[in-house]
Symmetry: C2
Subunit: 300 residues, 2 copies
């Protein structure tokens, strides 16, 4: 049998994942899951793609806010536009202290345009931007081992969804190409929409709740209508959706050399993982390679 | 080649539908649609199942409201509980005059329970209730020709979604068994949810907008992230989603003998169909049979 996870190091983690997934698809096993219930949900930032030094979408928004200030300098007198224009990264690092201002800015960044116009803006940005450390397009900073895991669960009859705390529409632009996950299987935070003059348009307000933390089970029920059996995440915002699943996987970022090493924002999730028996995957020990080998990409 | 629509009468309508759907799946045709864009959306009430003498979900709600008044007689002093308890059908017939009261009642009917508890209540109701005229379970009042049409589009590589103005969660209970449409492909109006003490619970408020009229394109973009290519509907509430599609089909209820004959609520849709060239399907002329032949079912 060919190795379904060639970018994972051989060992207990890899062995457990393969055995668990296959058992859920095997009607002779005790942990068999009927096909219609075989739902797998993956977080995106830090679980499928790199989220450092900033969320990829944050870089997209910063560039847009700077552009808005250039077009309308008075905007630069208020937040988050001022911080964006001044390059005041400390403001953004203290995310939760400024969350209301920032979320208002998120909504305003692409208001009153159609979903197709938003897609085009995101597509252009992905094509023209490079990661500050790795020097490659952000679309090359997908974790190859996780891509193989998506295939493994799919090949065992799971339907795969992405539940991102970030922007649903931002991820939809690249989900088919990067993950073979169609747009309709991407769940996430989003702008409210309105229908006016025969067109769907983005409003400045965001749909509540945001698809993060306790919002994830809500979005998952709204979209899928049943609890996932398999959930993969990496941060505190994934705890509640991990609690829904029979099998939980937490990706632990402990590889400063090939990617980044950090606990911040994952402290409670790591604690919950130990308490609940979720599988903790060490990027350093369990990943044989981190990013897909692609022209120009530096893979550590 | 076997006939993909055996319950449709031979004629121009059937010929056109088959030719159009096949052309969209044929990469040598002018109207070819790439697989990822092959999205078909069907309305439910009056398009896939019988909506007379009342919406099926309305019967479910009436029974629930009567039960609530029995448990708490003071509730019967306010609407819509009073009308439900008194059997005052004139109140419900004038739907739009009482829409706010009625929608409040819809939200309150199943509040503070889990989605699984709601499923169970709906399942029990479907199993125990008969249609007042046809004397069969409501689940036998699916239009067999439309079920064949679902298969035809699926067999030509379309992904099928249901967009119901009624309750998403109500339709999800039966969508897999009746239409082979999995729960995650049902879009519709819904109660807001909250996450409390590790559980997802239904709130008394409804998600805005309702999935009807201009709400349908909004829900479709939220859920699918792109416009449908093929849309089937039957009423004024389907106009905006029909306007999104390359191919629109409007089912016209003109068969008093085998089902019902009515224009009410579809006047504007019929006008829009003529203006936009949507295909109008006559139940009387185009359907060889209306309901699936099933034990105990009277099919006209």
């Amino acid at each position: 049998m060919t190795d379904p996870l060639p970018s994972w190091n051989d060992g207990e983690t890899k062995r457990q994942i393969i055995a668990l997934v296959r058992a859920m698809a095997d009607d002779k096993s005790d942990t068999f899951v009927p096909p219609e219930s075989r739902i797998a949900v993956f977080d995106n930032d830090g679980t499928l793609w790199c989220e450092k030094p900033a969320y990829i979408q944050a870089s997209f928004l910063l560039e847009r806010w700077r552009e808005m200030v250039q077009q309308n300098p008075r905007l630069g007198e208020s937040q988050p536009y001022k911080a964006a224009a001044d390059g005041d990264m400390a403001y953004f690092a203290d995310l939760y202290a400024h969350i209301e201002e920032i979320l208002r800015g998120v909504g305003e960044a692409f208001q009153a345009i159609t979903p197709e116009e938003f897609d085009e803006a995101a597509r252009q940005w992905f094509a023209s931007t490079r990661h500050p450390r790795f020097g490659v397009p952000y679309t090359e900073l997908i974790y190859q081992p996780m891509r193989e895991l998506l295939d493994l669960v799919r090949n065992n009859g799971f339907k795969v969804f992405i539940a991102t705390g970030g922007g649903r529409d931002f991820v939809r632009v690249v989900s088919e190409a990067l993950y073979a996950v169609p747009r309709e299987c991407v769940i996430g935070s989003a702008a409210k929409l309105e229908y006016r003059d025969g067109k769907v348009l983005r409003l400045p307000e965001l749909v509540q709740p945001i698809d993060d933390g306790p919002g994830k089970p809500i979005h998952i029920y709204e979209r899928i209508g049943r609890p996932p059996v398999f959930v993969a995440g990496n941060s505190d915002g994934d705890i509640q959706m991990l609690e829904m699943a029979r099998f939980g996987l937490l990706l632990y970022h402990d590889d400063a050399e090939r990617e980044y090493s950090y606990d911040a924002g994952a402290e409670k999730a790591l604690e919950a993982a130990r308490r609940n028996g979720w599988l903790i995957v060490s990027m350093r020990s369990d990943f044989a390679q981190v990013f897909a080998p692609k022209r120009g990409a530096r893979n550590g």
